[in-house]
Every structure is written in structure tokens, then in C-alpha cells.
Symmetry: C2
């Protein structure tokens, strides 16, 4: 590929293609971070919807703190895709989740965007290898997968396809960081990336439970917000489960609850918990703990839960006023 | 069964059997809520471990606000199981997750506890039907499944076995509420209950990813805490996904992303998204929304994410100080 013409820190003009919930969320995010944003969407009512979405998001973004010079007035809505991309220094594509559409659109974006400018797709799960097939320069096409709403949830998963240049992946990861996101850069394509595989597993089990009449939608939602969801806001599932092992951490937890993996909890078949996987989990938790002891993590978790309960106005029933 | 001798609101003496991470967490919870707690555990170092656990939890419980008269001095550690149960008005069993052990222990607890007093098991997944087989009075045995740590995470899932009296289930659900918990009462036994099936599906997928080298433990944890976990602290997966459908809510979301269910995201096979399941999800979301519009929910979610980010010291990089 041609080297991106602008340094990640030098970008001032971002183009967002597709202005639905995700595309519009990206527009709000980039505006709040002080970029000039050009948006394009073929829907006839896209302009009004996009304004409405940005206006709805803006009070939240003011609370978070706008970047210097950030303004909703710096949004331009282009009349054509070509016009939208003509001066782009970065392009974020957030079109509907249809493979053929994405393929064609990415080829058109590639044709309309200055050489070397990185083009990221918000796809929830298509591998870029499958989407970059029609583009003249596939090397600058990659996935930058956000979470809803992109203007508040920090995570972006960045991964290239077989024909993506490593340089483009590095550039995009750096650019997203500069633009205020938390980035996980993946070195291989996995369908659904990381967080979507995890939340999709949970979601599929939820759908099974509703389909079987085992739980209602409200019970499913309550079971997360009153239960594990409180922990996951600040401590991931691995470290959280390590604490279920008491002073023995992840090793003790796997030895104790490992046999439960064979239980018919969830319709997802568990992997074999062999020595290699056990070690990978234990070592991985040690690494993720970054020197914190189990006692440190327990104290951190406790404070985190209290802070989250307080912040969301939900001290446990019977708790302090 | 004999009617429980004490009203849920009249309970003052709680017995906790098993004083590991979960049992000890229950001890801390009940002490903080102002109960006299008697604990028993056969491990030789149980006494010290339990004191240490309660001491570690206490500062958090002070922050949450202790009930009137709550004191760590109201903990008695009994020398025998029989002594521990002799005056119990409620028993919470939190022994290791082994079916034979649970069966025998519950029979012994039943024999040692005054007639009619409800005995709950903290089991992570065994159906009570399988655990109540040896007890003389199985009708008062039920599951009261907590989340770690029980002194901070509000959720308890309550469900009886085939031989459990409905009256015992009602009593326990009411008692837990009085004792400051958020209760989901299930009307049928499902292995792993609700929240465990959901988090277990996610967990199994995480184990698969580590086993296959697709993601590290740290990436898995970060992908949740920087992504969906921020939302799940206050809005469950169903309502959260409904907001991915924009102004069309869950119906639009399923129509748009439904085909993705066929994608090889996660190793869990998805259910058939037929009209019945689609309707159940849409109607369930309407019910869970309790009159709130999509715009209301978006505003609530945005404020929630901001509050959680603030509370946990993590405004997005580049955000306001």
C-alpha cells in the first residue's frame, strides 16, 4: 500500500459512511473529539436522523468533556459518496451488515478516497478477507469494530484481512487511540472478533432460554444487572472468576469448578480442560493481574462494585441511604 | 412441610454452613444486615480464614451502610454441625460443589435443624431435585444461588426441587429480600439457573478462545470491561441489544442482525429465530422497558455509561479530566 499521507496525530478530517445507529455514533464521537466530520448515507431521511442522534448524544459528550474546538457545526453531510471521501484522512464505514453490500461499498470507497488513506469497517463480524475482494487496493482496508454507542463505549477491535498491510493496521490502532478509544489489535481474523464472540455466546444462550420458556427477557436482563454485570464493568470474566477460587485464585477455581464444565449449563459445549488450558488460564490471570495479589484484587473488586452501585443509584436494598 | 416457625421479617438467627469464599461471603452479608450468624466448617483453618474474609469485607460493608446493631461480634463459630443448626431460623449451605457431599450434608442439616426452618443451598448448578434425595424432609430444601461476593452482588436465584414445598420457596424469596438481596424466583429447575447459564456460555467461549490461541486472558478481560461490560452494570443484554436497532428497537435489531445468528460466532449453536421467538423477544423488551421509549432508554444508557466510567475512574482516554 501507499503509506498513509497523514500521521495518526495529524488527522483533522474524518469521513463516516453510513449514518445509522453505529455510523451516527461514530459521527458524534469524532465531532466530540474535535474532528471535522463528513458523513454520507443514501437513505432519504438520513440527514434528519443523524442530526437527531448527534443532538441526543451531545449532552453526554459535554459531560465527558469535549476536545478543544469540538462542535456540531463541524459536521458536513455530503451529497455523494465521492464527495464525502474526496478529502478524507480516515474513513469509517458503518453500512448495513450484508456481505455483498459491504464488498461493493468498500470497493467504491477505495476508488473515491485519496491513496494510502486507511478505510475501516464497523462490521460486527465479517472477516475483512471476505469483504476486501472487490477493492483495487485491499491493503488499506481493515476492521475497526466498535460497540454501541461508539461515542461512549471505549473498545474498538482492530484486525486486518489477508490482503491488509500491517502498516495500515498499526496506523489505525494508533489513530483510534489518539481519537480516544481503547484498542485491541488482533493478529488474526476470528469470526466475531473477541468481545462479540463473548457477548454473542451469552446472547444465544439467552435466546435459547426465552425460546424454551426457561426465563423471561426481564429475568435475563435483571440476572445480569443485579449479578455478574456489576463486576464486568471494571473486572473481566477471567479475573472475576479467579476470585471465586479464594486465596488459591484461578488454579483453585479451575480445580474446584472445572468438573462443572461438563454440566449441561448452556448449550455451548465446553473445551477440554486439559493441563495446557489450565496453565494458559492461570498464567494469563497472573499476567492480567500485573502484580496485584488476590487480596488486592478482592479489595479492588469490592470498591468497584460499591462505586458502580452508587453511581447507578443502586445501593443494595437495605443498604445505607 | 411444617410451616416455617418464623416470619421472614422476624428472623434474627442465621446459620451458614461452609465458610469458604461463598459461605464466608454470606456470613459477612448477614452480619452486615444485623443478624446473629452461626457458622460451621469442618476445615481445620476455617476459623482464621473466615475471620480474615469478614475483616476484608467489612470496610466495604461499612461504606454500603451497616444495619442497626450489625457487628462482627455477632458471629459465633460452632464446633459441630448440630450445634450450628440447633437454633437456626434459616440455614445457608455453601459446601464444595460435589453432588454426593451436598446430598449427605443436606440430609444431615435437615436432621439437625428445627422443623420447618428453610435450608438453602448455594450450589452453582445442581438441581435441588438431585440433592434432596437423602433428606427426611426434602420439602424445606431449596436453592438460593448467590454471586461472588454475596455481600455485594445483590442477585440470588431461588428455585425448589420436585419435592420442595411452594411455601418454602415463597418464604425464602421473601426472606432474601428482607435481608437485602435482589431475588429472581424460578418456577422450574434449569441446570445452572439463569445468570450462570449466561455467564457460563461467555466463559466457555472464553476458554475456547484461549485454548485456540485466538485471544489472551487479558484481551478477553479488557474486551469486556472496555466494551459490553460497561453497559451490563445497569442495562441487561436484551435491552442493550434493543438499542442497537435504533428507533426500531428489538424488532429492527433482530431483522437486521438476525441473519448473523447463523454466523460461526461462538461455538454455541443459535436457536432458530422463528416468528415465535422474535415476538417473544420484542414483547419481552417492551415489558422490560416498562413504558420507557427507545429515546428514554438511550438517554438512560448514556448516563449510566458515563456514571460507571466516572465511578471507576475511567473517563475515555482523551475525555475530560
Amino acid at each position: 500500500m501507499t503509506t498513509p499521507p497523514t500521521e495518526p496525530t495529524g488527522v483533522t478530517k474524518v469521513t463516516c459512511v453510513g449514518a445509522g445507529v453505529i455510523g451516527g455514533g461514530w459521527v458524534a464521537h469524532f465531532l466530540a473529539r474535535g474532528y471535522d466530520v463528513t458523513a454520507w448515507d443514501p437513505a432519504p431521511d438520513a440527514r434528519e436522523k443523524l442530526r437527531r442522534l448527534v443532538d441526543a448524544a451531545w449532552p453526554a459528550l459535554i459531560q465527558l468533556g469535549l476536545a478543544e474546538g469540538a462542535s456540531r457545526d463541524r459536521l458536513t453531510i455530503a451529497g455523494t459518496l465521492e464527495e464525502a471521501c474526496a478529502e478524507a484522512q480516515f474513513v469509517q464505514e458503518s453500512a448495513p451488515e450484508k456481505l455483498d453490500l459491504k464488498r461493493d461499498l468498500l470497493a467504491r470507497l477505495d476508488a473515491a478516497t485519496p491513496p494510502g488513506v486507511v478505510i475501516a469497517s464497523s462490521t460486527s463480524g465479517y472477516p475483512m478477507t471476505d469483504m476486501q475482494t472487490e477493492a483495487a487496493d485491499p491493503s488499506r482496508l481493515l476492521v475497526g469494530h466498535p460497540f454501541n454507542p461508539p461515542y461512549l463505549i471505549p473498545l474498538v477491535e482492530v484486525v486486518g484481512g489477508e490482503r491488509t498491510a500491517g502498516e495500515a493496521v498499526e496506523w489505525a490502532s494508533r489513530f483510534y487511540e489518539v481519537a480516544g478509544k481503547s484498542v485491541i489489535t488482533m493478529d488474526r481474523e476470528v469470526p466475531g472478533f473477541i468481545a462479540n464472540r463473548l457477548q454473542e455466546a451469552l446472547w444465544r444462550e439467552a435466546l435459547h432460554m426465552v425460546a424454551n420458556g426457561e426465563a423471561t427477557v426481564k429475568e435475563i436482563d435483571d440476572s445480569i444487572t443485579e449479578g455478574p454485570g456489576l463486576r464486568w464493568a471494571f473486572m473481566g470474566p477471567c479475573l472475576t472468576f479467579a476470585l471465586a477460587g479464594g486465596e488459591g485464585g484461578m488454579g483453585h477455581m479451575l480445580d474446584h469448578f472445572g468438573p462443572s464444565l461438563k454440566s449441561p449449563w448452556t448449550r455451548l459445549e465446553a473445551p477440554e480442560l486439559d493441563a495446557a488450558l489450565r496453565d494458559a488460564m492461570v498464567d494469563g490471570c497472573d499476567e492480567a493481574a500485573e502484580g496485584r495479589t488476590i487480596a488486592d484484587l478482592v479489595a479492588e473488586r469490592d470498591q468497584g462494585v460499591i462505586d458502580v452501585l452508587r453511581a447507578t443509584g443502586r445501593l443494595p436494598k437495605g443498604g445505607a441511604e
